[in-house]
């Protein structure tokens, strides 16, 4: 398939000799305008790749933080159409930072796969991560996405063994997302040595960049994971930074975009030190 912003971004970072900071945020949390301001603040704060969460009523692989963020977004009136519009608005000021939409299949299925892919492409979306579409269901969205020129990023997990890895990697493009543990988002990070081994195992099967997520919360963890991975994904910590400035009545106690930018700035510093020991 054709080159996307994701491919170009990882190529550039390879030249710089550092891993990518991949940041997840929930689109529409707590409302469209605030969420758009967070999105726009991410690249300046040091995010290299943006995962834009598509809220879903029943996020079966997510922990309490991302569940709550999705519900706040839905309560704020977020829809898949609005998430696409948000990406399009972001694109007017940034044509380089890759955006990967992440979520569950049903809203896309209901929107209509072909219509969704056309609109996603037009909105400047570069890739998709759809949690509940394993390789066995590739005909649903993965194959049409690749045909439309949108990367389909697959999750590999600790339960993905050597025998299964090739089928998981077969139609994957953009990067591989290694889920560092069996569990839901926001759990505790396992030891980085084991993560490094797993990254090595996946890299033996593919030339694609391997990003690691689930459980990375601090700059220090980002630095440690970034020693072996091509990218470090941070989600729950960012979503929590938004939640922390929302009071019980739903009002804001501080600027969420600023809170997220401060956190992301620290994480970005972490990934920039990841390979210093190797230089």
């Amino acid at each position: 398939m054709t080159e996307t912003r994701i491919d170009r971004r990882f190529e550039k970072l390879k030249e710089e000799g550092r891993p990518a900071l991949v940041t997840y945020m929930m689109a529409g949390d707590p409302d469209y305008a605030t969420s758009l301001s967070i999105l726009k603040a991410l690249p300046g704060a040091g995010a290299d790749v943006i995962e834009l969460g598509m809220p879903f009523s029943d996020p079966m692989a997510d922990g309490p933080a991302i569940q709550a963020a999705g519900l706040r977004a839905l309560k704020g009136g977020q829809t898949l159409a609005k998430t696409l519009r948000m990406a399009a608005e972001f694109r007017q000021g940034d044509d380089e930072t890759p955006i990967v939409m992440m979520g569950y299949y049903n809203p896309i299925y209901v929107y209509g796969v072909e219509r969704f892919l056309a609109d996603a492409k037009a909105s400047g979306i570069d890739g998709l991560i759809v949690v509940d579409l394993p390789p066995e269901m590739d005909a649903e969205l993965c194959v049409p996405a690749l045909r439309a020129g949108v990367n389909f990023i697959r999750l590999a997990t600790p339960t993905t063994d050597e025998a299964r890895l090739p089928s998981v990697l077969r139609n994957t493009s953009g990067f591989v997302y290694y889920v560092s543990m069996t569990g839901i988002t926001g759990s505790a990070l396992p030891d980085t040595g084991r993560v490094g081994e797993a990254v090595g195992r996946i890299k033996a099967h593919t030339d694609l960049p391997v990003c690691v997520g689930f459980g990375v919360k601090t700059a220090e963890q980002a630095r440690a994971i970034g020693g072996s991975a091509d990218g470090v994904v941070v989600g729950t910590a960012i979503v929590n930074a938004v939640a922390n400035v929302i009071d019980a009545g739903g009002g804001l106690t501080a600027d969420p975009a600023e809170a997220v930018a401060t956190l992301v700035g620290g994480l970005a510093h972490g990934v920039r030190r990841a390979r210093l020991a190797h230089v």
Partner: protein
């Protein structure tokens, strides 16, 4: 789906990918994929293993009390003045419902797979009780996820589960009903993949569960078919069952699917009416979508967000339905009709008075449909209603509906 092209058999599904036409499939996170493939392989081996079948048979007979009776409901028949109504007495099974049929099969499978920890979701608590029961019987630890609303309205079953040694974890998200319990059970499973067996209670979820649960519940229909042939010398004209996730219904229906003379009715929870969203009639008022590992009819909004339904019956309070039912609906073989809360409640009271049987509110939905159709049928016609469970668990709910203190 092309409803005009009829398959040679309605009993052949699912295909190798777990699809019933458009419906079914394996829409799960990668972490779970190796597990459900392993489960599928293990199930294929077990169903062809005479030792497994013999053990299941022995437990069904001596522990669960099968075969369940096919009872001519003479009082109800006389009251309705039309077709002869028979009850398939799943309420007489150990633990009081059809759920034990599935749980016995799956616990043997879990043991065969070396799993030490059982998790389950439950709505009315019938499946939770049946799971806690078999876990106690086989000495395995058990965690049951149950919506907080259901914990409140099904207190007797919550207590039974605790007595049986299970840990009941209330789930507060959403409306605190079966859907939310299933989300939380899936989150547990994805976290504890190495030692945990997810004992799904209905014929839904990712492949192979819909097929696996159907096979284990089909004992209901196989027995009923043989019993009516024995007792009446012919097949029934109609079979009726309530459909939430749809395991008791698919269990009764499946052996009759290729008997063209048998009309098959599935009863959905019509709640307070299909105009608003206070019902659980996913096939009458929903549309296809993907949730909990399968594609099926779902109650959802235009953005694909799942709606919380409503039913007086906790066991029917689910916004989806097993995928095989969705296929049977589209193929036209089975008719799915809604029954309102009030109609179910009236059937509950009627059955108690004229038969001396207190049915579960789920089963009362099926009986309510018989109440509607039997009077217009001839006295020599035969209707079998699946009395899927007993109603002791529901007396608090019913008392509340009647503004009575107990």
């Amino acid at each position: 789906m092309n409803a005009t092209v009829q398959p040679n058999s309605f009993r052949a599904g699912p295909d190798e990918d777990g699809m019933f036409g458009l419906f079914g499939g394996r829409f799960v996170a990668e972490t779970l994929m190796p597990l459900i493939l392993e489960l599928e392989a293990e199930w294929k081996a077990a169903r062809n293993d005479p030792a497994f079948q013999a053990e299941l048979q022995a437990l069904s007979t001596h522990y669960a009390g099968r075969p369940s009776k096919l009872y001519f409901a003479e009082g109800l028949t006389r009251h309705l003045g039309g077709a002869k109504v028979y009850f398939k007495r799943e309420d007489l099974n150990h633990t009081g419902s059809h759920k034990i049929n599935n749980c016995l099969g799956q616990i043997l499978l879990a043991r065969r797979m070396g799993r030490k920890r059982i998790i389950a979701e439950t709505g009315a608590g019938q499946h939770g009780v049946a799971t806690a029961t078999v876990a106690a019987r086989f000495g395995l630890s058990c965690v049951v996820y149950m919506g907080a609303t259901d914990v409140e309205r099904q207190k007797p079953n919550v207590f039974r589960m605790k007595l049986l040694g299970a840990e009941v974890r209330p789930v507060a998200s959403g409306h605190g009903t079966l859907k939310d319990a299933m989300n939380e059970a899936l989150r547990d499973w994805v976290t504890n993949v190495a030692d945990t067996y997810y004992l799904i209670g209905t014929a839904a979820g990712p492949h192979p569960y819909p097929e696996l649960v159907r096979e284990l519940q089909s004992v209901i229909g196989r027995e009923a078919r043989a019993q009516i042939l024995e007792q009446e010398g012919r097949l029934p004209d109609m079979v009726i069952a309530a459909v939430g996730g749809g395991s008791n219904a698919i269990g009764l229906f499946h052996p009759f699917l290729d008997d063209a003379s048998v009309r098959i009715l599935g009863v959905e929870a019509g709640g307070r009416g299909l105009d608003g969203i206070e019902h659980c009639a996913s096939m009458n008022a929903g549309r296809p979508g993907v949730l909990h590992g399968n594609r099926t009819y779902l109650l959802q909004d235009g953005d694909g967000q799942i709606l919380d339904g409503h039913s007086i019956s906790a066991g029917l309070d689910y916004p989806g339905v097993g995928p095989e039912h969705s296929w049977l609906k589209d193929s036209g073989r089975v008719e799915y009709v809604p029954v309102l809360d009030d109609e179910a409640l009236a059937a509950f009271k009627l059955t108690t008075r004229v038969e001396g049987i207190i049915p579960a509110l789920e089963s009362a939905h099926a009986i309510a449909q018989a109440v509607k159709v039997a009077p217009a049928m001839r006295p020599d016609e035969i209707v079998i209603v699946n009395l899927s469970g007993r109603g002791d668990k529901d007396v608090h709910t019913v008392a509340k509906m009647m503004d009575m203190e107990i």
